[in-house]
Amino acid sequence: MEKINKLSTTAVPLAMEDIDTDQIIPSRFLKAISRAGFGDNLFRDWRYDKADKPIPSFILNNPLYNGEILIAGRNFGCGSSREHAAWALVDYGFKIVVSSFFADIFKGNALNNGILPITVSETNLQALLKIVNLNPKAIFEVDLAAQNFCYKEALKINFEIDAYKKECLLNGYDDIDYLLSIKQDIVAYESL
């Protein structure tokens, strides 16, 4: 897993609420047996029409917007547990997703793939969306160690992340590394 610490990047706004993982990656693309290549089909049916032509009104097709941060409406990633949604975001090039609320399973999947989900208040979410809408080239600074997310001097947001997952992201560790290291505790539990 890739490490994350500091990031300085533009953002893509997607204000829609309750975006489910079927939209992030439709089920017909779940037939692959590797983790690679899902980025091409990220938000496939919002991004392309039935003839596979880009839909100009969709934000990822707007040349003004790019960057490693996706700012999305509340309850991002609800629905199916498919980790392919996180793989698609990573493969496309997103490293951070900001929302006022994340669905549980998606959040866990994101963290397990080196994506940092940042939860902000609804007020801050609206403020961030406004900044990006007014200025697509706005640069945001993210500092995971310090747990803050800033836009110039205008907006400084402190975010929460649990200590264990923070450690994993900063060092590029995953849960299996840890679980394998405590195998004797697991065996001891089994014999209780």
Binding site: M16, D22, D45, R74, S81, A103, D104, Y164
Partner: protein, 460 residues
Amino acid sequence: MAKTMFDKVWDAHVVKEITGGKQVIYIDQHFIHEVTSPQAFDGLRKRGIEVFRKDKTVATADHNVPTINQHLPIKEELSRKQVDTLIKNCKDFDIELYGLGHKNQGIVHVIGPELGITQPGMTIVCGDSHTSTHGAFGNIAFGIGTSQVEQVLSTQCLILGKPKKMRIKVTGKVEKGVTAKDIILHIISKMTVGGCTGYFIEYAGEAITNLSMEGRMTVCNMSIEMGARGGMIAPDEKTIAHLKDKKNAPKGEAFEKATEKWLALTTDEAAKFDKEITFNASDIQPMITYGTNPGMGISINQTIPISTSDSQTKSLNYMAFKQGEKMEGKQIQHVFIGSCTNSRIEDLRLVANFVKGKQKAKHVKVMVVPGSKSVELTARAEGLDKIFEAAGFELRQAGCSACLGMNEDKIPAGEYCISTSNRNFEGRQGQGARTILASPLMAAAAAIEGKIVDVRAYLN
């Protein structure tokens, strides 16, 4: 200290406390299927490790399998490759596989309880969000991502934070024509699609305990549709009766002993929940969804609410419905009876009983997809296949089918499908397809009339 049922099961599975309030939780049973496991097995190969507890792992092929001619090779190349990969992985890692053609094959959440693998007090996971179904037996059962599938395969454990606890009570009795599906669609419509995120639910109250085990599974199945990781129901005599003589359930004296333990898995009188909500069964009517998430549901006699956000407007545009309209009377072109929500034998019996002697509307296509090979065989043995055939319904073979449209069972763009499944997301049943969620009874009535109707008008 007084404990909830959830606390009792959770606390018994803590292997170790770690930093940041996280805990290492032991998993008693792991189900795997072809779609969310290949990358996890690859991970094991890369690390050069074995599956840690093969006897706690069971695999089946369900998401991406055809529901006709299952004895023939799968036509679609990518699907075949994915199912073949599961077969190879199970062989290489020595895992029990109920693949296509096996008598135990079926939707993972249907076969677990059917075989008695699902037993009260367990922790159960699967790379599928509807794993919450197994909670009907008093389990902590929830869906996980593929990285977590790999964790469980390699260590039988997960690193988790303990969720908050919510109790949802449904008091009183439901009227005729109101099923388990209507109860849960009603609850979701009130709680909203994200309203239970961060919580694990205990369902209780007379309307819940009055449900059969199959009905309880329908309720727990859709817990995830309001964001809850899972939902559970305390084991009782119905749970015990369901488990007795099941293939994997304990037998004889061991069963008696287990029964004692299982029946003790109830919430203590003084135990506290983080949130408690009560619904009255008498307020629940046959439900129907009008939008593109399962929280967008109304009673059949209500009208589509006024949109209050761009997301809701987008949703109505997708469905080509207008605010203020009634759902009753709307034309449908497809009916799907199936999925881990409503594909068990009781669902098929209910539908068959309703359609006996009736004919589907001419313009409607009706698929009945059993949840397992065993459900299919039982349906045939009981003559339900003849009833379906006479009504113009097509009884197919077991799989997830048009619930998620990964196989060829898709709904064409722009057409409406009344579906007994669990999700009405955009494109869920096929690109551009429009899904309307309802109970098996409501779906059966719509099949006959060719439009959405209030099933109560057809019951004596």
